[in-house]
């Protein structure tokens, strides 16, 4: 049976790019007993059961996605673990974090254990839940963070529910920092821009859409950084969306605050203009912002202000998306786009110094460092999670071709670079195209 017997695999003649270990060269990769045994020279007595020809392809660590909604428990009609982990394999994503906004919310150890157990049985991506920071994400009571950590949580998040009461926010950060847990927060003021559906700018004014101003993000960041100073908590900033927000994150890092930061993959490339004639697929949270903001995101990925790119994968069905713009649910499918959107950044920002290795770092080792998990590298002796992709391939985003049950993205019809050819997880070839 697949996965029960570990075969010895050799990935031949690929361009191995492993940013964590500073490797970028054409080499063979040898996998023995589910682990990376050697890169370059075959280990003594190696017998390959399976050969993966990677000529002309890139061999990178399996991707680490900091935010992918798998919709279990509670929203199985939108997507299931099976469908979404299948999509993860097709996207080369071998480790992923899922936010706690399920139904019920991931605020009890039993739920987390069940999710981790279900995922483990499927034997595909390694699934790391983020626990709820407050009970029911209601922003009132602390969750059992130590118990949740024991059950498998790697951090604590509020998903899309901002904490209104600043006292509660301070206490979640004090309590989390007691145990050294990282608090994951999306910077959004609970009131400013509430009910908004698009970036507050010329386009929203013209189309008559209610706006989410940049100040909603910056005010929240000021609050978070002040509370970090007083509590000493480690915070990961999720889905930063604006140039002004990035300037604050940069200043906080320069000051030495223990802060990390990610961006959603769609936000690297799109702006509010992509809403066009009210395309509900372009309804995102945070909203797609201006070209200036997008340029700042691309630059911040280069200078390290943004640590990682995540897919922010959100499978939604037609009933939630084929609606007037303001009624459509925010979010887009992303697991199968993450690699391509990162590589597209490397190509688009090439003249400013972006390259394949940096793009891969942002979706492998940098993301793993943020999450505090052992993944995202091809270190000798480590678990063999590998992504083999064709950097020269171009493919068209079409709903029918996506394995995820979520078929909605503003990028439908776009041609994107780079395509996964093989995904190896725990030393098993789990996907080939």
């Amino acid at each position: 049976m697949d996965g029960s017997i570990n075969m010895n695999i050799v990935i031949k003649q690929g361009r191995v790019i492993d940013p964590a270990n500073g490797i970028d060269a054409i080499k063979d990769v040898f996998i023995v007993d589910g682990h990376i045994a050697a890169i370059g020279q075959a280990p003594a007595g190696f017998h390959g059961d399976q050969v993966v020809d990677a000529t002309g392809l890139v061999v990178s660590p399996g991707l680490v996605d900091l935010s992918a909604r798998l919709r279990e428990p509670g929203y199985e009609y939108k997507a299931t673990l099976e469908s979404e982990l299948d999509a993860a394999m097709a996207g080369g994503v071998t480790s992923l974090l899922c936010p706690p906004d399920t139904d019920p919310v991931l605020d009890e150890p039993g739920l987390v254990e069940m999710l981790v157990h279900r995922a483990r049985l499927l034997n595909q991506s390694h699934v790391y839940p983020l626990g709820a920071l407050t009970v029911g994400l209601k922003g009132k009571e602390l969750t059992e963070m130590a118990e949740l950590t024991e059950a498998g949580c790697v951090g604590f998040a509020q998903a899309e529910e901002p904490i209104q009461d600043t006292t509660v926010m301070q206490r979640t950060m004090q309590y989390a920092s007691t145990f050294g847990y990282t608090v994951w927060l999306r910077p959004q003021d609970p009131y400013l821009g509430r009910g908004g559906v698009a970036h507050a700018g010329p386009l929203a004014s013209r189309l008559g859409l209610s706006g989410v101003p940049v100040t909603s993000e910056t005010i929240a960041l000021h609050t978070i950084f002040e509370l970090m100073r007083s509590t000493g908590a480690k915070v990961h900033i999720c889905r930063v969306s604006s140039a002004s927000g990035l300037a604050l994150v940069r200043a906080a890092r320069d000051e030495g605050l223990p802060v990390t930061c990610d961006v959603g993959a769609h936000h690297i490339h799109l702006t509010d203009n992509d809403i066009g004639f009210f395309d509900p697929n372009a309804r995102m949270t945070p909203p797609l912002r201006s070209q200036r903001d997008r340029d700042a995101i691309q630059a911040a990925l280069l200078d390290g202000t943004i640590d990682a790119i995540c897919s922010d994968h959100t499978p939604l069905d037609d009933e939630e998306k084929l609606l007037p713009f303001g009624e459509a649910s925010p979010g887009a499918t992303g697991l199968e786009l993450l690699l391509s959107l990162a590589i597209k950044w490397a190509q688009d920002a090439h003249s400013s110094g972006a390259d394949l290795s940096k793009a891969i770092a942002r979706i492998t080792c940098d993301a793993a460092r943020v999450a505090g998990i052992n993944a995202g590298s091809l270190a000798i002796g480590g678990v063999a999670d590998v992504c083999v992709f064709d950097p020269a391939a171009r493919w068209k985003v079409e709903p029918a071709a996506l394995r995820s049950q979520g078929k909605h993205t503003p990028l439908i019809g776009y041609e994107l670079p780079a395509q996964v050819r093989h995904t190896i997880v725990s030393g098993r070839v789990a996907f080939s195209r």
């Binding site: 507050a200 700018g201 010329p202 929203a204 004014s205 013209r206 189309l207 008559g208 859409l209 209610s210 706006g211 004639f277 009210f278 509900p280 009933e319 084929l322 609606l323 007037p324 713009f325 303001g326 009624e327």
Partner: protein, 319 residues
């Protein structure tokens, strides 16, 4: 650029917004409307242009007045009119917007007149009709959220042309709650497309959207400054609920700063006209002496509105 309102021959397929509509098409609508104005004065107020066609008035947001004007326009064109009031609550009980459209299309609708509380809803319907190969069905936007109210914009253009003849030497002031106004947005696009050199927005900062300058407007917070020397004043209705959302302190204070009084009207050109899309709040945005005064053209606007809607419907039916 792709424009979902025009068919491949460049004719009007749907009327969704005035933004991006070529000046030639707007002018043609106004000219056609002029020929319909006299129909209303005849003893038999009907022309047979849409005989046998079915117009569905699809009002997801209630408005007896607007619905009635569309109904009158359709009947004067000899179309069959079916009125459907689909309140937001019954829609949310089950059937989705597009399911409703499919059902009504199956009843052989030729035209949907759509009013919806969400900006962009008529676009969704128009796109769905194209995607499902129903190119013969037309959509008329009768007001979507804060986005557009193109027939109101067109009847405003008709009224201005009727009284002022040429758009290219006018200064037009739009006064009041532009933030929440689909009428204002349609007027702005109509006026700039037809070549009005100066369009002003007047109001308190809580009721003006950001980036009005980028839409080609001059912004005034002081009404007395903004009204100086204008040819046309378009007053907007102020909804009572604006007092509750911390947008305005009181109707009294609003009237004091932004109400159109005879004294303020005297700052405009002596032959300036005063317009209002209705229904008016006397004593809130407009003084009765102005509303009933010689410079007000508010009732002619209503009359022209029927002719303009007839013009658009007949052009859509012929596309």
């Amino acid at each position: 650029m792709y424009n979902p309102q025009l068919n491949k021959n460049g004719e009007l397929q749907h009327l969704l917004t005035l933004e991006g509509l070529p000046a030639a098409i707007i002018t043609r609508i106004l000219d056609t409307a002029a020929s319909f104005v006299s129909v209303s004065d005849r003893e038999v107020k009907k022309v047979p242009l849409m005989r046998g066609k079915s117009v569905f008035n699809l009002f997801f947001e209630n408005s007896t007045r607007t619905r009635t004007t569309f109904e009158i326009a359709s009947t004067r064109l000899s179309a069959d009119v079916i009125n459907l009031n689909i309140s937001a609550s019954s829609a949310s009980k089950g059937e989705s917007l597009l399911d409703t459209i499919d059902n009504l299309s199956a009843m052989h609708a030729d035209m949907f007149v759509v009013r919806h509380a969400q900006s962009g809803a008529p676009y969704l319907i128009a796109k769905h009709l194209v995607d499902t190969g129903q190119d013969h069905v037309h959509v008329m936007n009768a007001g979507d959220g804060r986005h557009a109210h193109p027939t109101q914009g067109l009847l405003d253009m008709y009224t201005i042309r009727h009284y002022k003849k040429d758009f290219r030497n006018l200064t037009v002031a739009i006064v009041g709650d532009i933030l929440h106004s689909r009428v204002a947005r349609s007027d702005i696009h109509g006026l700039t497309t037809l070549g009005v050199p100066e369009v002003r927005a007047i109001g308190p900062r809580t009721l003006l959207p950001s980036s009005l300058e980028q839409m080609g407007l001059r912004v005034f917070n002081d009404m007395n400054e903004g009204l100086k020397g204008v040819d046309v004043i378009i007053m907007l209705r102020l909804q009572n609920e604006r007092m509750t959302g911390a947008l305005l302190p009181s109707a009294q204070e609003y009237f004091k700063s932004y109400g159109l009084t005879p004294e303020r009207l005297a700052l405009a050109k002596p032959d300036a006209i005063v317009m209002h899309p209705g229904p008016m709040n006397r004593g809130v945005e407009i003084d009765s002496a102005v509303a009933d005064g010689a410079q007000a053209v508010i009732l002619p606007q209503v009359t022209f509105g029927i002719a303009v809607r007839m013009a658009v419907m007949s052009m859509l039916a012929a596309a």
